[in-house]
């Protein structure tokens, strides 16, 4: 059974004078445990697709089912809870909170669950060990390299044990060596059973994944 099922997804950006069709009747199924790459040139709608898949944005038309839940009628509160439990995000520009240290950044998704401070700390420390950053727990993001920041972001994405990780150009801001390290981490988590959908425009990186979906001008072409 597909863990992500998108059907007839259309997204239109409307300004005063111009109407831009970002996604045009897209259908896509992602199976549980898959590692899928979405590829395409800039502006083809791949990030919009990922945002809709991650319930960060709403489509104008179509339905989004995640882990068997049809999400179009979900209200803000239940949707936030659902996102918290089911989805993890990795962004190209890391989006770490500069005024929180590494440990507090990683704890973030757990703050919005009913868990004690002690268990939050333990879980965060555990995933930081997995990404090899136990020695940087008390550092602030400004004190880390790009690769380290992305590893913190991955730790934050997996700390709540989500079924799905959505990664938007996770290696985009990193050099090739650091990019490889990040890909190795993502593969490790995929091997543990986490479904991963990654947006990239790097053919080499995409080939490492199990399936590639290509987009062009808001349409799926392959």
């Amino acid at each position: 059974m597909a863990i992500i099922h998108l059907e007839g997804i259309t997204k239109v950006y409307q300004t005063k004078d111009v109407e831009t069709i970002a996604l045009d009747k897209i259908n896509l199924k992602v199976e549980a445990g898959e590692f899928l790459s979405i590829m395409g040139p800039s502006g083809c709608g791949k990030s919009t697709m990922l945002n809709i898949m991650g319930l960060l944005d709403l489509p104008n038309e179509g339905t989004v089912s995640i882990d068997g839940m049809e999400t179009s009628r979900m209200k803000d509160g239940p949707m936030a809870e659902f996102r918290n439990k089911t989805l993890g995000f990795v962004f190209q520009s890391f989006h770490l909170i500069n005024s929180l240290n590494v440990l507090d950044n990683v704890e973030l998704p757990l703050l919005y669950r009913k868990s004690t401070e002690k268990s939050r700390r333990e879980q965060a420390k555990e995933v930081l060990a997995k990404v090899g950053l136990s020695h940087r727990m008390k550092h602030f993001p400004s004190q880390l390299s790009g690769g380290q920041c992305q590893r913190v972001a991955i730790a934050r994405a997996i700390v709540g044990n989500p079924k799905i990780i959505l990664a938007d150009e996770p290696t985009g801001n990193l050099d090739s060596k650091m990019g490889e390290e990040i890909m190795t981490l993502l593969h490790d988590f995929n091997c543990e059973g986490t479904t991963i959908v990654m947006v990239t425009h790097d053919e080499h990186i995409a080939r490492e994944t199990k399936r590639i979906v290509r987009f062009f001008d808001g349409r799926r072409v392959q």
Partner: protein, 420 residues
């Protein structure tokens, strides 16, 4: 969760020192301004020597008499006959004192016996109960007893400054001072009392029975054994009004109050109970209006800072929402963080308001330099509750809008820092 918010708020204050200092100082000055007014108001209510029994004192300073047949009516300060024939007969108060309205009578010609240096001063004409209700710091001698008062004795109590002015540093006790060309023996010298003490303040105190024509109008001050007795005293006063109506056919008497200290300092004028209630309401509304204006102006200024701080954190809000933060959680977080700034500003503001009150007490509160403001006026629960309330309001007014706006932004717009 709140521990992390606190850590983050402190870290943000450290990371944006300039904005933080300006924002905290802005809050501190706003709170200082409001707290100075609150402390200044509080000082007028609290027990403070010589008015040490303010919390169990009631005041009657106005009366209205109406004749229902002849149609005339008269209103003004309390007349001596009402004080003597009715109010002095109240059973519940511990003491009932009648005194003149300081500054309302003409100033009297004062001079030291044998000298031709005539000056004009106001005198406070009082009875023996006055010295029981108020507590003066006698440097020398004493005042007069009930028996001496009744005998119309010509005794005078002078303030330290007045004694120095009149006798130029000579020993004063037992000397004679002429008040309105009548000789008075100085029997007591008290430490100076500020005119801010409406009922006790003055420079010269004499028994009103010593006056040639007696005292016609003034105030009545009623001191209860306990403030729990206030309702009973008020009921007795109402009973006396009815008694007056029986004693004087066709006439109706209205005595304003009796008012407690809090109401009395409002200085309301009313010709009946309904007018009095209305006047109190108007005074309270006016005070709330002024308070809100004083609060809204700094809040508007501070909201600019809140908005700019929030704009810097739009992406963070997007991330928090992506990872499961609900709108209200974002709203609470922004308000909570802003509250921390407000509280730091509040504490600094409170300290600054103490400094201002202490430093400007003679100008602001007309409290003499040498006298102390009781610690309870500064550290009273009312003041702390007011600081908390002001901080809360200032926080809601200054950060409420930006917090609400931030919480409503879509996640995608927040992540792309697109302020739509």
């Amino acid at each position: 969760m709140y521990k992390i918010y606190l850590k983050q708020a402190i870290q943000m204050l450290k990371q944006n020192k300039f904005i933080s200092i300006i924002s905290i100082l802005g809050t501190a000055l706003a709170i200082m301004m409001i707290m100075t007014l609150i402390v200044a108001d509080e000082v007028k209510i609290l027990n403070m020597a010589p008015e040490i029994n303010r919390d169990r004192t009631l005041y009657i300073d106005y009366q209205v008499k109406r004749d229902t047949v002849e149609g005339w009516w008269h209103s003004g300060y309390l007349t001596h006959d009402i004080a003597k024939d009715y109010l002095s007969k109240l059973k519940t108060p511990a003491y009932t004192s009648f005194m003149n309205v300081y500054g309302f009578d003409d100033e009297e010609v004062i001079n030291v016996e044998g000298e031709s240096d005539y000056r004009r001063y106001c005198t406070r004409k009082v009875d023996a109960a006055f010295w029981k209700i108020f507590s003066f710091d006698f440097l020398e001698g004493n005042a007069f007893s009930e028996e001496e008062f009744k005998s119309g004795i010509h005794n005078a109590v002078l303030s330290e400054s007045m004694a120095k002015t009149l006798f130029k540093g000579e020993k004063v006790l037992g000397k004679t001072v002429q008040i309105a060309f009548r000789n008075y023996k100085v029997t007591g010298i008290v430490k100076d009392v500020s005119p801010v003490f409406k009922y006790a303040g003055g420079d010269m105190w004499i028994p009103y029975t010593s006056l040639k024509d007696g005292l016609h109008v003034g105030f009545v001050v009623l001191m209860a054994k306990d403030k729990e007795d206030f309702p009973r005293i008020i009921a007795e006063v109402r009973e006396m009004e009815r008694k007056f109506g029986i004693d004087h056919h066709h006439q109706i008497l209205y005595l304003k109050g009796p008012e407690n200290q809090k109401i009395n300092i409002m200085e309301i004028r009313a010709n009946n109970e309904q007018e009095s209630i209305e006047a109190i309401k108007i005074k309270k509304r006016r005070a709330i209006f002024i308070f809100l204006i004083l609060l809204i102006i700094p809040a508007l200024n501070l909201s600019g800072f809140s908005l700019s701080r929030i704009k810097k954190r739009v992406a963070e809000i997007g991330v928090r929402k992506a990872f499961g933060a609900k709108k209200y959680v974002i709203l609470i977080q922004v308000l909570y963080e802003n509250m921390i700034t407000s509280f730091i500003g509040g504490i600094i503001g409170l300290i600054l308001s103490y400094v201002t009150v202490m430093w400007l007490r003679s100008w602001l509160l007309k409290i003499p330099e040498g006298s102390d403001i009781p610690l309870s006026a500064m550290l009273s629960p009312t003041v702390f509750a007011a600081v908390f309330f002001v901080c809360l309001l200032l926080n809601l007014l200054s950060a409420g809008f930006s917090a609400f706006r931030a919480s409503r932004m879509t996640i995608v717009n927040s992540l792309t820092q697109n302020d739509r």
